[in-house]
């Protein structure tokens, strides 16, 4: 039924003497959300960067869609159908919302030598690209804002745009780094709803500080402290874990 889409085993990233991530293993299942929580500096973002290829591991192995992708460049990993969003909004600020998403969609087809077709016109050659971008914009709920300049959109809209750009590449695995960061209550609720919808046909890694959202969404939970996994398993098990309560959850409440 469900299968492991991405799997990291014994990932370690050392910066000099400091191990930012140390011996971490995660499996991402199709149709499930794997949440990673932990205090600031726990190595959650480094783990995301290792999985997306932004940072290459000191040791360990990463499998994606049946391929060993350890040490691959971010663009190559992306083409292996991995999509990620960033903790700090990372978009093409001077371009319109539509152009941001269209570009992400265009990435699925190399265009080194298409010099004579106009992307502003709905030319038949762009049918697949535009349809894919269209679907991503609709899923993220940005239909009304397609002509807005991305840099001038509200924070919440920019977060939605991040998701839309990620979806426009049609990934099978999604890495979402704090998609709810800085969102209002209503916006956050909408985002949780969207993530639940996306869960159905993606394998997802979610790094998030909002515990309500995490417990509402996650099927698996990994708790990191100081680069190491201190607990993992079903959310209910983790919630009951004494070590976790002491190291992390206790501080939160």
């Amino acid at each position: 039924m469900n299968e492991v889409m991405m799997s990291a085993s014994a990932l370690t990233k050392r910066y000099g003497g400091l191990a930012a991530v140390s011996g971490v293993s995660v499996d991402l299942w199709h149709g499930a959300i794997h949440a990673v929580i932990g205090p600031n500096g726990a190595g959650k973002s480094t783990l995301t960067n290792l999985l997306s290829g932004d940072v290459s591991p000191t040791s360990g192995r990463i499998m994606l869609g049946g391929q060993d992708v350890t040490g691959w460049s971010p663009d190559r990993i992306s083409r292996q159908r991995l999509g990620r969003s960033y903790q700090k909004t990372n978009i093409f600020a001077p371009f319109t919302v539509w152009e941001n998403v269209r570009l992400a969609s265009q990435s699925r087809e190399p265009h080194f030598t298409s010099w004579f077709s106009d992307t502003r016109k709905n030319q038949p050659g762009f049918k697949t690209i535009n349809e894919r971008a269209e679907r991503a914009i609709e899923l993220a709920g940005l239909e009304e804002r397609r002509n807005a300049i991305a840099g001038a959109a509200s924070h919440g809209e920019q977060r939605q745009l991040e998701i839309a750009m990620t979806l426009a590449t049609e990934p099978t695995v999604l890495l979402l780094d704090e998609p709810l960061a800085g969102m209002g209550v209503a916006e956050a609720a909408r985002m949780v709803e969207l993530l639940l919808k996306l869960k159905q046909d993606h394998a997802m890694l979610l790094v998030e500080h909002d515990m309500d959202a995490v417990f509402a969404l996650a099927d698996h939970l990994t708790v990191m402290v100081n680069g190491q996994v201190i607990a993992g398993g079903l959310p209910t098990q983790v919630r009951a874990d004494a070590k976790v309560r002491a190291a992390y959850l206790g501080e939160e409440s």
């Binding site: 992306s78 265009q106 080194f112």
Partner: protein, 340 residues
């Protein structure tokens, strides 16, 4: 890091109208003026093609190359090597070969330099161009510091039929004009193509492009090669017009001038590069002709006046002359913000 400014990519009506009037003026110019100015405007058009080729890197992709003249010079030298001392050589194979030489040099150099970013890119492009400069400067076989003469302009005849004679000043003028318009239309088309959009997005946020799955190295290398090839067209025409190829064609000064032309006109839309090249060359002419007043030779210090002028443009019209035109046309602030 500050968010990159949006380029003036969609040309406002005032700019398009100016370009059209400019084209009409260029089309009738040889009939309105004498041989001296016809040659001067031919040179300006060649520089405009060169500046546009740099704008593809500098304005669109955000790669500021301080060695772009290398590819201009290589095509000029190729023509010089191929032209025998006593007779002309055919245009139809020397032009493609010269452009190909420039493109090949750009491909090889680009393979190394487009891996670097920002200030490092500026440094390594300059280093490679200086290497090529001194290769030609120091080797007698390659012409040495004096360069090489091109005694005859290329022959455009096809199977005994001569469609146009490039030895004729006015014919060369129109051939250059056709090339200028062709290059402009090509680059404008490229700007809105999937390839051009990818380049613009690399300028804005290369990291995001990688995350989206773009092989940005390939895009930048293609752009670098393409820009080198187009610089080759300009260099070939320059060699053809002046009748020589010397190391200055690939020198640091020409590279720096082309950057100034692009900034002066306004980056990222190619129209700015044309306007900038014309303005730069015209000012160069004006400043060099300045008289001696009170024992000071103002004309000799033209670089100083040019420096002041560029500083003034950057301060008061940061988006270049086209940006200024856009602003005056719409009542906008110096950075393009609306006053409403």
């Amino acid at each position: 890091m500050a968010a990159p400014m949006a380029n003036l990519e969609v040309l406002p009506r005032s700019v398009r109208l100016t370009l059209l009037l400019g084209l009409i003026a260029l089309a009738v110019f040889p009939y309105m003026s004498g041989p001296y100015y016809t040659e001067m405007v031919t040179r300006m058009m060649i520089m405009a093609i060169f500046a546009m080729s740099l704008d593809l890197l500098q304005g669109v992709t955000g790669l500021v190359s301080l060695g772009h003249a290398a590819f201009f010079g290589i095509a000029g030298y190729t023509l010089a090597f191929l032209t025998p001392a006593v007779e002309p050589v055919s245009l139809w194979w020397t032009l493609p070969l010269a452009v190909l030489s420039s493109a090949l040099a750009a491909l090889v150099i680009g393979f190394f330099v487009v891996r670097t970013k920002g200030i490092y890119f500026i440094m390594v492009t300059m280093a490679f161009a200086q290497m090529i400069y001194y290769l030609f400067f120091d080797n007698k076989v390659l012409g040495g510091s004096d360069g090489l003469y091109i005694n005859f302009r290329p022959d455009a005849s096809l199977f005994g039929w001569l469609p146009f004679d490039l030895e004729n000043r006015v014919t060369l003028y129109y051939a250059t004009l056709v090339l200028l318009v062709g290059c402009y239309l090509f680059l404008r088309s490229l700007l809105w193509s999937p390839f051009g959009r990818a380049l613009a997005a690399i300028r804005v946020n290369e990291h995001r492009m990688c995350a989206a799955g773009f092989n940005t190295f390939g895009y930048k290398l293609t752009a670098f090669t393409l820009a080198g090839a187009m610089a080759g067209f300009a260099g070939y025409f320059y060699g053809m017009q002046t009748g020589y190829a010397n190391p200055e064609l690939m020198g640091f000064h020409l590279s720096a001038h082309s950057i100034m032309m692009v900034i002066l006109g306004g980056m990222g839309n190619f129209a700015g590069a044309i306007v900038g090249a014309f303005a730069f060359e015209y000012l160069l002419h004006l400043f060099k002709e300045l008289p001696v007043i009170g024992g000071i030779d103002f004309g000799k210090h033209w670089q100083l006046w040019m420096g002041f002028f560029i500083v003034a443009v950057v301060m008061f019209a940061p988006r270049g002359l086209l940006g200024l035109m856009d602003r005056l046309g719409r009542g906008r602030g110096p950075r393009g913000e609306r006053h409403e």
